[in-house]
Amino acid sequence: MKDEQFDNLLRATLSRRAGATHQNEAAVERVLNRVSGPLPRQRRPRWRLPAVLLDWQFAPAWPRMAALACCAVIGFFVGIAGFDRSFEAPDPAPVSLGGGGIGSITFEPEALTGARP
């Protein structure tokens, strides 16, 4: 028997096993009647997180994105200027630390091998 024939045999067997539609309808009605009486007590969780913690949504939304952008801008300016300086007063010109002129930043060849970095 080929695979397809075997699959069809399985389908036919299982569908016949499920019973005819009218049998199922009768069964459904019987079960519905059985569960229409008084129902047992529901089991509620003893401890649950406050709803606000369960309602967190991580999907992007415009107000949240705007808030995030504002925080980023504030963080950028505070990082550049610091809390102790105002934005209007520019920093003094950078001071040369080497003091040796252009020659001090020239990399010398290594004395022994002559290799340049």
Binding site: M1, Q5, F6, D7, L9, L10, R11, A12, T13, L14, S15, R16, R17, A18, G19, Q23, N24, E25, A27, V28, R30, V31, L32, R34, V35, S36, L39, P40, R41, Q42, R43, R44, P45
Partner: protein, 181 residues
């Protein structure tokens, strides 16, 4: 407009019996059919369907919509059926041989019935997970992804279960399948 299963479950969680009955009526045909396919016994299938609905009612306040309600309910029914089959193995009256009808064409009918009885019996003897995969795929017409979600496994694992299940069935039904060739 019909409420979604998840919305009805939210109402059931608050103790709404009307929502529970709506949900029961919506899903009962499917769960009775599934239980009958697995158990092969109408009375047992009704008991399982009732038990599954009672679990829906009882555990509704604890239910979280992490998966589709239908998937969760199918898993509950499947586990209840497998538990029953594990607890008691009996010879089902419905699968017993039938008296041969002398009417024309009765021979072919009886032969087909006998063949289906053998296939059903071979399915019953499969390991539980292989049986579940076969039932859900060929009986319920579910996709491998849906079966994987219900069995809490991966799609490739479901494919393996199906291949092994069918291999075992072919081995069990060897002579019958050879006869048809």
């Amino acid at each position: 407009m019909d409420e979604s299963d998840e919305a009805l479950m939210a109402r059931v969680a608050r103790g709404d019996q009307k929502a529970f009955h709506l949900l029961a009526r919506r899903h009962l045909p499917a769960i009775v059919g599934l239980a009958r396919r697995i158990l092969g016994n109408a009375a047992e299938a009704e008991d399982v369907a009732q038990e599954a609905l009672m679990r829906v009612w009882t555990y509704a306040p604890r239910w979280r919509p992490l998966a589709l309600f239908r998937t969760w309910l199918t898993r509950v029914v499947l586990n209840l059926c497998l538990d029953r089959k594990r607890r008691a193995r009996w010879v089902e009256l419905e699968t017993a041989g039938e008296i041969v009808d002398p009417a024309p064409g009765a021979g072919e009918k009886a032969e087909a019935a006998e063949r289906e009885r053998m296939v059903a019996s071979a399915i019953d003897n499969l390991p539980p997970r292989q049986r579940s995969a076969i039932m859900l795929t060929y009986g319920e017409g579910m996709t491998n992804a849906e079966v994987a979600e219900i069995l809490d496994t991966s799609v490739s694992a479901v494919e393996t279960l199906l291949v092994r299940g069918k291999h075992n069935l072919r081995r069990a039904l060897g002579s019958m399948i050879d006869k048809d060739n």
